[in-house]
Amino acid sequence: MIDAAAAIRLSLESALVATLLGLPLAVALGYALARVPFRGKAIVSAAVVGPLVLPPVVTGLLLLRLLGRQAPLGRLLDAVGLPVPFTLLGVIVAALVVGLPLFVAAARGAFEAIDPRYEEVSWTLGVSPWRTFLTVTLPLALPGLLAGAVLAFARALGEFGATVVLAGNMEGRTRTIALAVYALLDLPEGDAAMEELVGVSLLLALGAMVGYEALSRWQRRRLELDRVDQGAGRAAR
């Protein structure tokens, strides 16, 4: 018996937690890639894209090797009561990792679009770089960051390959929407649950598309003025 409602709830919860955990990572990585010169930037930039270009099953396998009970990091997590393989945490980790490239790319794009002179003006007004980041940079990038969150959330919802390898397909524990649909393919009596899961997936995807587009437009509107400003400045210099 496959419980569609449980799968939907599990998917939404794990995708939400993965997105919330990904936010600080995406902000830090996106900002560093957009603004901070550091050695090995090209490597970090390429590595972040990794989960986007790797087959998700391979990503799951690599995660299992890193976080499985045979690996030092996995043993450590197990010892502190946070076992990853075949647990809800595994679902969250898989969702986080596959969603992160989209999140970081969106965050990086949002930060790159902000003219650094906003921050410089803020410094000369006596505001420290940290407070400037919180009160100037983050608010200017906010719509773009939220757009990235929507993409990462949607990607996390649809995750299949990495999840099935790292977390398995266990009813009520690690069975997300995608895994439930896959399990239902083999069950001739599961049509109603299948329709429900597919319908919810389509609705969520539609919501994500509309949300992403609205947030992207908000970001462009928010920074529209600075594009005009920059253009005028270039012409005058």
């Binding site: 002179r117 006596g126 009160t135 003025l225 400045g233 005058a236 210099r237």
Partner: protein, 220 residues
């Protein structure tokens, strides 16, 4: 005569190599020169903004940078009023909020000062508008007001009158001049426009091929 600003730095801005040496006791100093000569970089060096130059910078009797002794006073501790060529007003904030940018708690108490500066710069009617609804000249005056409200110890003005129409040019120049005199604040002005320089500066330096040279009064 004691120096108000002293610069002796080398820096690279893109493909441009600048070697800036300037020592001036003038309280109203102008740097002129053609576009792209690196004039704005001289102001950025004084403001403590990137790219980091190598050398010495001092102003108002304080050392702001000494690369040999690894001393550097960051931009947020210099107390300068930097008015960049483009206003860079926060697009999602009203003019009033832009004027109180970074004041924190003090912003609420700054009402009378905001009103006074806004009246002098003829932007009082714009306080509740968003920057996207302002003209280039209005934005430039808001940026100037934003800098003056912080009671800077040194004004750094990058083409401060360039976006203004003829009527406002003279009036805004008069506001800058009066503010600098009333508050005894020295100013460094960058401009390619001789009229700005004539109305606002006592001493004029020229930026040419990456170097600074005093034009007037002529070196003795």
């Amino acid at each position: 005569m004691t120096a108000v600003v002293e610069i002796d730095v080398a820096l690279e801005v893109g493909a441009l190599r600048l070697s800036l040496r300037l020592s001036s006791g003038a309280r109203r100093l102008a740097i002129c020169g053609p576009s792209g000569a690196g004039k704005s970089s001289a102001l950025r060096v004084l403001a403590g903004l990137p790219p980091r130059a190598v050398g010495r910078v001092s102003a108002l009797g304080e050392t702001w940078q000494d690369s040999e002794r690894r001393a550097f006073v960051p931009a947020w501790r210099r107390g300068v009023g930097w008015v960049p060529q483009e206003a860079h007003l926060l697009p999602h904030r009203s003019v009033r909020e832009n004027l109180c940018w970074g004041m924190g708690e003090a912003g609420a108490a700054a009402g009378p000062a905001v009103a006074e500066v806004a009246a002098r710069l003829e932007i009082a009617a714009l306080l509740d508008r968003r920057p996207r609804h302002l003209s280039g000249g209005e934005r430039q005056r808001v940026a100037l007001a934003r800098a003056l409200l912080r009671q800077p110890r040194l004004l750094l003005l990058d083409e401060p009158l360039s976006a203004l129409d003829r009527g406002h040019r003279g009036r805004v120049a008069a506001v800058i001049d009066a503010y600098a005199r009333e508050h005894a604040v020295p100013l460094v002005l960058v401009s390619h426009d001789e009229r700005d320089v004539a109305s606002l500066a006592d001493e004029v330096w020229e930026m040419d091929e990456g170097q600074l040279r005093r034009l007037t009064p002529a070196a003795s």
